[in-house]
Subunit: 317 residues, 2 copies
DNA sequence: GCCTTGAGGACAGGTGTTGTCCTCAAGGGG
DNA sequence: CCCCTTGAGGACAACACCTGTCCTCAAGGC
C-alpha cells in the first residue's frame, strides 16, 4: 500500500519537526482518522522508532530516541545547511572523524536535488576558510573522490606535483584518508601500474568519472598507517618543540591530543611537542591561544614568527 | 502493509549506501523476488525519488537526485560524524547559515540514540575550537536552546552578566540568532516581565526544561534586526578600519562579504571596514591571512597588535 | 468527579501485495 | 549480426492488509 508507506514517512517527518503532537492534529495533517493514526504510530513502534504517548488533557505523541537511527527527514534548508556546515568542518579538519564525515557528506550530496546543490555551491564559494594549519581542501572535490572510491569508478585528474609540474592521471581510487593536516588519496595509477598516494589539494578532477573497476588488494590493510609511513618520509613534516607559559592542564584543554603531546614543566609552564607540515599554520595556531611561549625547534618556525612579529609591528603603525 | 514500508525504507537505505545495484542483488538483500523489487522501485518513483535503471549486462538501479530531499538513512557512525562536524561548524560560525544549521542539528540530536549521543559528547569534549573572532559556543547548549524555542518549553538557566554577577532566570525562549560573531537568545523573562536578550555563551542551562508556554508576539518581526539594534548599542562592537596590501579581489576571496566591506585603493591594496566585538579575535583574523596591512582604527587594536608582535618576538627567542 | 485524550478489540468492505509465468526491450560482447 | 543478460511490465489467483466505524477502557489534569 503506497499510501500507507507515504503516510508513515510523513508521520515520521512531522514527529521529527516538532516534539509534541496531538492525535487529532496528526489525523488532520495525514487526512485519516485518529484510529488510523494510532495504528500508524504502532507501526512506527514496530519498526523500532519509539513513539511515546501521554494521555490526558495535555497528552500527545512524541518521537523518542531509539536504539537505532531513524531516517532523517530534512527540509531543503536544513539539507543545504548540513551540506555547507559539514563541508566547512571537514575541509577545515575540525571534527575529529573526518573520514566518516566525508562519507556522510558524499551520501547527502548524491541525493541532493540539483537546485539545492546549486545553493550549496553558492554558499561554499563565499564561506570562510578556517584552518590554521594547512590550507583548506575543497569539500566538493572530497565528496567526488569519496564517491568514486565507494562506487569503484575510475577517476581521471590533473595532478600538480610538488615541483609544480602537471600530469594527467587515470586511476582506480581506493581510499581517502587524512594524515596530519592533509587529505590523501590512495589510488592505483593505471599508467604507472602501481599504487600512488596523491595529495587531495593538488588534484583537479576531470568529470565525469570513468567506468567501474574491480578493487585490488590494498598494499597495506591499515591504509592510514600506510599513508602516514609513506608521507612522513616525504619530508614535509617537521618536528615542533616549544615551551608554553601556561599550565599543562590549560594547554591540554585547548590543544587536542592528536595535535600535540603536552608535558608539564612546572605549575605555570609546559612543553609541547608536535609535528607540522605548514610552518605558517603552526605559527598562527600557537599565536592565537594568547599565551606566552618560546619555540625551540625548528629554527625556520622561529624565522616565521619573527617575520610575523615584524609584520604585526608594521600593522600597528 | 508493514513489511512493505520497512522494505521500502531498507531499499532506500541500500540505494543511498552504494550507487549501483543489480536487481537480483537487491532481491537477495530484501528477501523477495526481482519482480517485487521492480514493484518497490516503482513505488519509490511514485513517491518522488527518482531511481534510474539501465538494462543490459552492466545494468542496475541507481538512486538519482530528485526534486525533493529523500529521507537520509544514516548509519551510526555517519550520524555521529554529522553531529560532531556540524556542531563544530556551528559553534565556530563558519557555515554562513547557522540558524538553520542549529535547527537541523537539534533535529538530529533529538532522535539520536543515547549511545550515539554519548559518543558525540565524547568527541566534542576534545575537539578543537577554531574560531578566530570570539570564543566558540557549546553546541549542546545551542541545540538545547533551539529545541526549547521550537517546542515552546520554558527554560531556566544561570546567567553570568557582563560584570560577572550571576542570576537565575526563568524564561520563555523564543528565538536563537547570531549577530556579529555571537549567539543570542531572545526570551521573555518571567520575573522581569519583559523581553530580554541573552548571550548564549553566558548561559548555563538547568535541565530538564519546564512546562510548555504559548508564544507571545515578538517585539519585532525581524528578530535579527531587533537583536542587532539592541546589542550594537551595547558598545561591544567597534569599528575596524585597515589598509590591506593585496588586491581587492584577493581580499574579497578570503574575507566573506558579511564580515567586512572591501574597497579597492589601487592594484595592490585595498581598504577594509568591519565591526568587531573581540579585538584579539580580529587581530588573529587579520594576521592569519599573511598579508601586509596597517590598522587605522581602533587604536586599541593597534595596541593588541603591538602586544602580539612583542609576544611573537619573545617566542622566536 | 468530570473532561479530555490515547489504547485497542471487533467487524466488514475494499484494496494492495506477492510469486509465478510470460513476453518485450535495450545494452554489451563475441 | 546474433545472443546473452538484465530490466519492464501485464495477467492472475490467493492471500493479507488497511481503513473507518463503533464501542469500551485507562490515565492525566482541573
Amino acid at each position: 500500500m503506497l499510501q500507507t508507506s507515504a503516510r508513515l514517512l510523513k508521520l515520521l517527518s512531522l514527529l521529527e519537526m516538532r516534539r509534541d503532537w496531538a492525535g487529532d492534529e496528526l489525523a488532520g495533517r495525514l487526512e485519516v482518522t485518529t484510529r488510523t493514526v494510532r495504528r500508524d504510530v504502532d507501526k512506527l513502534r514496530e519498526l523500532g522508532y519509539p513513539v511515546h504517548a501521554t494521555t490526558g488533557t495535555a497528552g500527545g505523541y512524541r518521537l523518542g530516541a531509539g536504539a537505532s537511527m531513524p531516517p532523517l527527514l530534512l527540509d531543503d534548508e536544513e539539507a543545504v545547511a548540513i551540506a555547507v556546515g559539514l563541508g566547512a568542518a571537514v575541509s577545515a579538519g575540525v571534527s575529529g572523524m573526518e573520514e566518516t564525515s566525508v562519507r556522510a557528506l558524499a551520501k547527502l550530496e548524491q541525493i541532493l536535488p540539483p537546485k539545492l546543490r546549486k545553493r550549496v555551491g553558492a554558499f561554499r564559494s563565499h564561506t570562510v576558510g578556517i584552518s590554521f594549519e594547512g590550507q583548506t581542501v575543497d569539500a566538493s572535490v572530497l565528496t567526488l573522490l569519496a564517491n568514486s572510491c565507494r562506487d569503484h569508478d575510475r577517476l581521471r585528474f590533473e595532478y600538480r606535483a610538488h615541483d609544480g609540474t602537471e600530469s594527467y592521471r587515470i586511476t582506480e581510487p581506493h581510499r581517502l584518508a587524512r594524515a596530519g593536516s592533509r587529505w590523501y588519496l590512495l589510488a592505483w595509477d593505471i599508467d604507472r601500474v602501481d599504487w600512488r598516494i596523491f595529495r587531495v589539494d593538488r588534484i583537479t578532477p576531470v568529470t565525469p568519472t570513468g567506468p567501474r573497476f574491480t578493487p585490488r588488494e590494498l598494499p597495506d590493510p591499515d591504509v592510514s598507517a600506510y599513508i602516514a609511513r609513506k608521507v612522513t618520509v616525504g619530508a614535509y613534516q617537521r618536528k615542533v618543540v616549544a615551551t608554553l607559559h601556561v599550565s599543562a592542564d590549560e594547554a591540554r584543554q585547548r590543544i587536542p591530543e592528536r595535535y600535540a603531546t603536552i608535558t608539564p614543566v612546572d605549575e605555570n609552564s609546559c612543553t609541547m611537542e608536535s609535528r607540522a607540515d605548514n610552518l605558517d599554520g603552526s605559527a598562527y595556531y600557537l599565536a592565537a591561544f594568547g599565551w606566552d611561549f618560546e619555540v625551540h625547534e625548528p629554527p625556520e618556525l622561529r624565522d616565521r614568527l619573527r617575520a610575523m612579529a615584524e609584520r604585526l609591528g608594521r600593522a600597528a603603525g
